[in-house]
């Protein structure tokens, strides 16, 4: 996302829309239908092409995204960032390799394919760079039938063990602190409880944190255990004395 996608310049329109989207994001503006296209995002010869396709319209020398243009840009961004997540988390590709592949995927993935990936990954909210992934239809009905491969820690049941897949934050101090507590990619983590605060065990440490942190820790559950088989949490264990 940070480097322009040169190898796939054939999909020129989508590339232009993508550039407009990221420029708006960088400037702290929410991309939306009717948003003004920043002049630095696209030179006039590019915006003309957008206007010709009905993806933008110009008024008083300024160019604005149309509803169609916005939706198209949104889909491209969504596909790209989901692809990155897939390549990064599941296929374990990094940096240039991930970037190159994601650039090709973004033009190939249809809405449905993107939704499938989204479900598989557990509706991730950010790409590996920490930028937001526009939510799709699948994210609205989050009652997933299939348990996704990678879930935020909040989805784990107490007592369950999982491996940390990634930490979804760009806050350097927080990454450093979590790492020093042993919460890092590949580490095994056991959820002890969710309320009143999250408590987890990693190696020999016990760490407590709130929802904000729990939502940023994405894990791959070790194996699925149904709620009934485990006896439904702490009270049951307490009555039995031991677990």
């Amino acid at each position: 996302m940070d480097e322009p996608c040169r190898p796939c310049a054939t999909e020129e329109l989508e590339e232009i829309l993508e550039e407009i989207w990221t420029t708006l994001e960088t400037r702290g503006e929410a991309p939306a239908a009717g948003a003004r296209v920043p002049p630095e995002a696209a030179p006039p010869e590019q915006t003309e092409k957008l206007v010709a396709e009905g993806l933008a319209r110009s008024r008083d020398g300024e160019v604005f995204l149309t509803e169609e243009g916005f939706q198209r840009a949104r889909n491209v961004i969504r596909s790209h960032r989901l692809a990155e997540r897939l390549l990064h988390d599941v296929l374990n590709l990094h940096n240039e390799e991930m970037e190159r592949s994601a650039c090709r995927y973004e033009h190939m993935l249809g809405t449905e394919a993107a939704d499938s990936i989204c479900i598989l990954l557990g509706h991730p909210r950010t790409c590996p760079h920490g930028k937001p992934i526009p939510p799709g239809e699948c994210c609205e009905c989050c009652e997933t039938v299939l348990r996704p491969l990678v879930v935020p820690l909040t989805e784990l049941e107490p007592g369950e063990t999982a491996k940390v897949a990634y930490i979804g934050t760009r806050d350097n101090a927080r990454v450093s602190y979590l790492t020093s507590l042993g919460i890092m990619t590949g580490r095994s983590i056991q959820l002890v409880q969710r309320r009143p605060s999250y408590v987890v065990k990693i190696d020999e440490s016990t760490v407590a944190f709130d929802d904000a942190i729990a939502r940023e820790i994405f894990v791959r559950p070790a194996h699925r255990v149904s709620r009934a088989a485990r006896g439904g949490g702490w009270r049951f264990r307490w009555r039995n004395g031991r677990q």
Partner: protein
């Protein structure tokens, strides 16, 4: 916990002794205990992260150097004020060697910090402490091999038992620079050398500082290089540029490179035989119970009740009664008063044994009433600190504190406030943002009674009744929550996310609990009794000069009219400005003598609890929070305490509440 409040963080005595040996390590690994082991100097140690918040300096007989104990460093990137102090120490002191103290059971993160120190390129020794627990859990660490791989001496210690001291001293005689060089992503390396070129000369390598800056947030750059300086701007620029060139957060790239090496070392040097369960199933169940939504609340209430029984009913009731009535009232005071009765100068006689006498009032109050109560409280408190229970409170309280703009971590200074508000005001440094520190200080100043007050309040309520105590606590908590909520709305900013480590439950060692209690009680005698004597002297002078009656008459509309308290309580409030304990002892005595009825005692206790913090606390608040905020807090507390007392009195009387 009352140690060295006034000492400046990084300017230290004993500058003649160079070079310095700096103790560095994660929180709660036993740095202070190692410090005591090396220097023989007493420092308070407990079982929760953040006991040490300032740098301490001591000397070892065997080594020709000055040993510095530092606050724990959680990550390499400091998050709160006290963590920055540790970083500052490494950058500003004449560092001869670093002794990293780590937890032998938590080798991955210990070694992760070792990697950062290796980057710093200073002679170092690695001490793996708490080796006994690691052994019991089945970890076998090949220290010889680890030492060879790292190129630095590695020793195992059990500081609580003094084990491994000789080996540690031997190792400290020959600290070594590790020959290891961790290689990072070339882009990171390139930027690190660019930054290093811009940095001033530090005792540690510029590369390490550069890497810390690259993995930290930008405010750290301003901290080290000054806000808006050309260097600071240049470094910020490099950090931003580097981050833009790589995909993942820089901190992760740097940490992953270090972690790769750590994992190799652990594979080579550590074997783990599982199956040897160390923690008893009792400790395990207690752990679950104490953070369970319902169990934890019950445990909290249970602990409160035990404190009430032990400090309030037993100590402030029975022990104080005995000491005050029998020891002082029958054995000590009568002979003294009698022998002074023939003393020729009545002024001197009254000064010593009159109604405002140094002996009859100052000494009696401090020794007979306050000292036993505060000691009892310190015993319970020191015991609780060593079990590791306090951080569990953070887990319980986090959601509640979110309402007042704090996170669970803030319970530590608040709970410490029940020991001494002055120390607690300093401990607010462990909080991450200025906003949190202000809110916590405000709550501490407003309504957290310190140990002696707490003890005497419990003593008074032991007679009024437990239900009255619960009402009192509920009313107080409500007011504190409302004030905190309002403050959190008025102060801009956000509450940082809550994350903390829970130390394992440990059975407190009798020696440590006794040592801490003795240290704190000694501190009380040394620091507080002079204030009692001074306060008594002031009352004596005011009484003789006629100013006291004048002042009482002046304040009568407020005290007797608005608060419905006897005029005598005015004296208590005046004393309260000097020391919070004094007003408590004063009211306790008045109540004991039947000068206050239950309702009046309730109102007086509320006002006293809310009332201004004592002189030393006020100074610390102003020092820590600045003149403007500090004064604001004090003025608010003063006005609020009186107003709240008046309203409480009116409401209770209208509703005909009797206790």
């Amino acid at each position: 916990m009352e140690k060295d409040v006034k000492k400046e963080p990084v300017s230290l005595p004993g500058a003649a002794l160079n070079p310095r040996l700096v103790l560095v390590g994660h929180p709660n690994v036993g740095k202070s205990k190692i410090f005591t082991m090396l220097t023989g100097e007493y420092v308070i140690v407990s079982n929760y992260p953040g006991t040490t918040i300032e740098v301490r300096c001591g000397q070892t007989a065997e080594l020709d150097c000055c040993v510095l104990d530092t606050p724990g460093l959680a990550g390499v990137v400091p998050r709160s004020e006290e963590e920055r102090v540790t970083l500052q120490t490494l950058l500003t002191q004449d560092v001869g060697a670093v002794l990293q103290v780590g937890d032998a059971q938590n080798l991955p993160r210990t070694l992760l910090l070792t990697m950062a120190l290796i980057d710093a390129d200073v002679p170092m020794v690695l001490d793996l402490n708490i080796a006994d627990e690691a052994e019991k859990k089945g970890y076998v660490i090949d220290t010889a091999r680890l030492s060879k791989s790292l190129g630095i001496p590695v020793v195992l210690t059990v500081a609580t038992q003094g084990k491994g001291r000789r080996e540690l001293i031997d190792a400290l005689r020959k600290p070594a620079r590790s020959p290891l060089r961790i290689s990072y992503d070339p882009r990171v390396e390139e930027s690190a050398s660019e930054i290093a070129a811009l940095l001033p000369r530090y005792p540690v390598s510029g590369r390490a500082v550069a890497l810390t800056l690259l993995s930290g947030d930008l405010s750290l750059v301003d901290d080290l290089l000054g806000k808006g300086t050309p260097e600071s701007r240049a470094v910020r620029d490099i950090v931003g540029r580097t981050q833009a060139r790589v995909l993942e957060p820089l901190s992760r790239i740097i940490l992953e490179a270090r972690m790769a090496l750590v994992e190799r070392l652990i594979r080579e040097c550590v074997t783990h035989q599982s199956g040897k369960g160390f923690r008893s199933s009792f400790a395990h169940e207690l752990d679950r119970f104490s953070t369970h939504p319902l169990g934890g609340a019950l445990l909290m209430l249970g602990i409160l009740y035990v404190i009430y029984e032990f400090v309030g009913v037993f100590t402030a009731g029975m022990v104080v009664d005995f000491v005050q009535e029998v020891v002082f009232g029958q054995w000590l005071l009568p002979p003294i008063v009698e022998s002074l009765a023939r003393f020729p100068y009545p002024l001197v006689r009254d000064f010593l044994v009159g109604p405002y006498g140094q002996i009859t009032m100052g000494i009696t109050y401090s020794i007979a009433i306050v000292f036993p109560t505060v000691t009892a409280f310190y015993i319970v408190f020191s015991f609780l600190e060593d079990t590791g229970y306090l951080p569990r409170l953070e887990v319980m309280i986090n959601r509640l504190f979110a309402l007042i703009g704090l996170n669970g971590k803030a319970i530590i200074p608040i709970v410490l406030g029940f020991g001494c508000g002055t120390m607690a005001a300093v401990v607010t440094r462990i909080l991450e943002t200025r906003r949190e520190r202000i809110i916590a200080t405000l709550i501490l100043a407003l309504g957290i009674p310190c140990a002696p007050q707490m003890g005497l309040i419990l003593g008074m309520f032991a007679r009024i009744g437990f239900m009255a105590l619960l009402l009192f606590v509920a009313l107080l908590a409500l007011q504190l929550m409302a004030t905190g909520w309002l403050a959190s709305k008025l102060l801009p900013g956000q509450t940082p996310a809550f994350i903390t480590e829970l130390p394992p439950y440990r059975l407190p060692e009798l020696r440590n609990v006794a040592g801490k209690t003795a240290y704190r009680s000694y501190w009380f005698v040394r620091e507080v009794i002079p204030w009692f004597l001074l306060g008594t002297a002031l009352l004596f002078v005011a009484d003789r000069a006629g100013g006291l009656d004048e002042l009482k008459r002046l304040l009568n509309p407020v005290v007797t009219g608005f608060l419905n308290l006897p005029s005598l309580t005015t004296e208590g409030f005046i004393l309260g400005v000097l020391r919070r304990e004094y007003v408590a002892a004063f009211f306790f005595d008045m109540y004991g003598r039947g000068l206050l009825d239950n309702l009046q005692a309730f109102v007086a206790t509320m006002v006293m609890t809310l009332f201004v913090p004592c002189v030393s606390n006020t100074f610390v608040i102003i020092k820590e929070r600045g003149v403007l905020v500090g004064t604001g807090i004090i003025v608010f507390v003063f006005v609020y305490a009186i107003a709240a007392g008046g309203v409480l009195n009116a409401v209770l009387r209208t509703l005909h509440v009797t206790f």
